[in-house]
């Protein structure tokens, strides 16, 4: 009975999505308020109904209802309850349900948190998101119903893939999906702008916190996935340029470009078409990611289900969404306009350069991911493109990007001067060079690439420090008060940029100095690696809830002093008879010691083992965490919350927004710069309201 309720809830959700995809959009186009009003309650109802469906599936898993096909193929009565819940998204159908649930959650959030936005805008945003939800619900109901029954019921289930029986499974997929799906909000805002033909600074201010929120989730989701792969897959890597990782990385790159482009659109009214195009690209890449992962066209640790028919549906859906959006863009973009002009050296041009670099990076990842697929489909041979390709592209692309990232925050809008920038950043540059020469030498010997990495990392940190110092120096009063007056968006940006620096430190040192040794060890034997002695003392049999394992004891000592006792395991999962390696890691700020068991060899109790020493590896994830934290600070900036519509109408938007120090210091270099686009500012403030909307 419970599965049928869930199935019915999905059908109801589809009906609601279709209603909500039509009425508010038509209402907004015609100015019919009562049609627009439908959007709010129906959006929330969609969330409730999909949540009921999700709850039904979770209940079927918890109750071991093996008459449901999906439960029977992804769970087992021996599976611990927490993994029975996570098994809901352990396969294709449940992942789609999670996707849809999160989409409707974002819709409900938009409907609750957008009181200050014009009604027509929100109606359009919710309408567009409903179309996306309808697409996914159709997909689920027609090709991949999670509630399909299995007759006769299975006695017991096939069990969840042992790789997925891990705490990482609790957090990584939902948070990553929150990020993927969150870009649907940015996409819907962009489509709403195209539909209405109005895109202004106010529009950018509304869509910015949503875009940043999605970006935060995507950053965290990628970070969790990378950390999970590091300890679970047992060979100590943290990023493999696997197609599925690329699928999440491409929207991240495009989304990063988007949040920076939105900043320009909000502050200067420039880059309008470009911002809209980026929003479309970012969400299309999210959909492409879903397609790549869920259609089975690529194989990796992530593609659990392979079914070409589903692939065709997602591909068709993707072409409709991306193609339709791009057509709409081509038709309406001229109406939106390009926005204000700027000099070749200005904050705008720096941000534009970085946007282009990020998009070139995304395009090269796309090429490396899709090219083997195309060759295969066309029957021209099978190739694989591995990490060396991506490494050789990312170093030359990201070097200028990181360099410009240091300059951007202190450059003036509209027009800046290079000599002046050089003077302001001279100490940051000097400090970076010193760090690049000294630090690698201290950690493990100077190498050119390590030197370059540290140069860039130090540049991120020191240039951010300069930006912070200049802001502080402009203010009056005691130091604490000056700090407290900094806008949180500014602090968030600096924190995220410092996060990039920390991330680069981690990547550089891991790539430069990591070691890996495969050895065969008898009990009592030891291996010396990087100054650490790893002594294998033997193994012990242990019983887990649904597996048996051999657990080894490895004592690690340095200069005769015990540093850590590690217990790597080799597990045999009983239901699927699958062996799994569980690595043991001693984590530290400056290095990780990593031991994974291979297999038992020869007579006696000898095992093959893989031993890694990973310097600074945790800095990689610390950097991601700082980026996400920076994003959170930026999204919480008070100007996103406290701008009542009446006040906004009275005060020209760009001035009220960029009031703090940076603008007051700006000396316009050209007569045109004297008035920062006053015409657009006042007009925009007016057209943001519904009167302007209806007047169109």
């Amino acid at each position: 009975m419970i599965p049928e309720i869930g199935h019915f809830a999905l059908i109801v959700a589809l009906a609601l999505a279709l209603v909500n995809g039509v009425l508010p959009i038509v209402g907004a186009a015609r100015g019919w308020t009562h049609w627009m009003r439908v959007a709010w309650p129906v959006a929330r109802a969609q969330f409730v109904v999909v949540a009921i469906a999700f709850g039904c599936l979770a209940a079927s898993f918890l109750g071991n209802d093996f008459s449901v096909l999906y439960v029977a193929s992804h769970s087992n009565s021996m599976l611990p309850p927490v993994y029975r819940v996570t098994a809901v998204w352990g396969g294709h159908e449940g992942s789609l349900l999670l996707w849809t649930l999160l989409l409707t959650l974002w819709m409900a959030a938009v409907s609750v948190l957008s009181r200050q936005l014009p009604r027509a805008m929100v109606a359009r945003v919710l309408g567009v998101m409903s179309w996306i939800a309808a697409g996914f619900l159709l997909f689920m109901l027609f090709t991949s119903n999670p509630f399909a029954r299995l007759l006769p019921p299975a006695v017991d289930g096939r069990d969840l893939n042992p790789l997925l029986q891990d705490p990482g499974m609790v957090s990584h997929p939902p948070i990553l999906y929150m990020g993927y799906v969150g870009f649907a909000v940015a996409f819907a805002f962009a489509i709403a702008a195209l539909l209405s033909g109005e895109l202004n600074a106010a529009w950018a201010r509304w869509s910015r916190p949503w875009t940043t929120a999605a970006w935060i989730f995507l950053t965290l989701g990628i970070m969790l996935g990378s950390g999970w792969a590091y300890y679970e897959l047992g060979w100590g890597g943290w990023w493999f340029w696997d197609p599925v990782e690329n699928a999440s990385f491409m929207p991240w790159l495009a989304g990063t470009a988007l949040i920076h482009s939105l900043a320009v659109t909000e502050k200067r009214g420039a880059f309008r078409s470009w911002t809209v195009l980026l929003a479309i690209c970012t969400f299309s890449l999210s959909l492409l990611g879903t397609f790549l992962v869920r259609s089975g066209v690529i194989t990796s640790v992530h593609s659990f289900a392979a079914d070409p028919a589903r692939g065709i549906f997602i591909l068709a859906f993707l072409s409709i969404v991306a193609g339709g959006a791009l057509l709409l863009f081509a038709w309406r973009a001229p109406k939106i306009g390009l926005g204000g002009g700027f000099d070749p050296v200005s904050r705008e041009s720096l941000l534009l350069s970085n946007n282009v670099l990020l998009m070139v990076a995304a395009a090269s990842v796309l090429l490396g991911t899709l090219y083997p697929l195309f060759l295969d489909v066309l029957g021209l041979g099978k190739i694989s493109i591995g990490p060396p390709y991506f490494d050789s592209i990312f170093v030359p692309l990201m070097t200028p990007a990181v360099f410009l990232m240091g300059i951007g925050p202190i450059a003036r809008w509209k027009s800046a001067r290079l000599p002046e920038l050089a003077v302001r950043l001279r100490w940051a540059g000097a400090a970076s060079v010193v760090a690049a020469l000294a630090l690698p030498w201290v950690v493990g010997g100077w190498k050119p690439l390590v030197g370059l990495g540290i140069l860039l990392a130090a540049w991120c940190v020191s240039a951010s420090a300069v930006a912070l110092w200049e802001r502080i120096a402009q203010q009056q009063g005691p130091l604490a008060a000056r700090f407290s007056r900094l806008p949180s968006a500014f602090c968030g940006m600096l924190l995220a940029h410092v996060g990039i620096g920390v991330f680069i430190v981690g990547v550089t040192f891991v790539k430069g100095y990591e070691t890996e040794r495969d050895v065969r060890l008898e009990p009592g034997e030891s291996l010396t690696e990087g100054g650490y002695a790893f002594r294998f003392t033997g193994t012990r049999e242990i019983d887990g809830p649904n597996y048996r394992a051999a657990r080894a004891t490895v004592e690690v000592s340095r200069d005769g002093r015990t540093v850590a006792v590690l217990h790597p395991e080799k597990r045999l999962f009983i239901v699927q008879q699958t062996p799994m390696t569980e690595a043991a890691i001693d984590r530290g700020v400056f290095r990780d010691l990593y031991v994974a068991m291979g297999e038992q060899v020869g007579a006696g109790n000898a095992w093959t083992m893989r031993v890694h020493i990973k310097p600074f590896v945790n800095w990689i994830w610390a950097g991601c965490l700082l980026m996400a934290l920076g994003g959170a600070l930026a999204a919480c900036d008070r100007r996103y919350r406290l701008v009542p519509r009446k006040r906004r109408a009275a005060v020209p938007a760009p001035v009220s927004v960029s009031a703090p120090a940076s603008v007051s210091l700006t000396v316009p270099r050209s007569p045109r710069g004297a008035a920062p686009a006053p015409g657009t500012a006042t007009r925009e403030a007016g057209t943001g309201s519904e009167a302007g909307e209806a007047g169109r």
Binding site: S73, N161, W235, T299, V301, A305, A306, G381, Q576, M580
Partner: protein, 155 residues
Amino acid sequence: MKPRARRLAWIAGALAALGAASALVLNAFQSNVMFFVSPTQIVEGHVASGTRLRVGGLVEKGSLSRDEHGLTVRFIVTDTARAIPVVYRGVLPDLFREGKGVVAQGTLMPDGTFVADQVLAKHDENYMPPDAADAVNRARSTLRVSGGASAEARR
């Protein structure tokens, strides 16, 4: 700068950047593409030794031997028509078994031995890495093998 000159400068800059990026990508592409071949293609001499390749097929039953004092393993990869010897030094993946699908990545030596630096295996009982399945299929010239669910472990 006049608006027209400025626009020209922008376009020239953009084109130069695009050109540089394309050159970079294509160069990286050319030097890092790895072809996938079947044992039959190797034995019939379609492949020059010394290039980096991926070879897929089944681990021949009874072919696995291990160096007693070290970590070096030898096994034979077959696509059921032809077979080639593979040498690998290191820890094998969890699901490496005789008679099951495998993909080895490495270099072909002049003597016909394939020296692998990475070995990928299937990840559950019904599943074969698609590359391995493809090699076997080509050899059998039948079309449908494998299917099922789950994932490829990389080592």
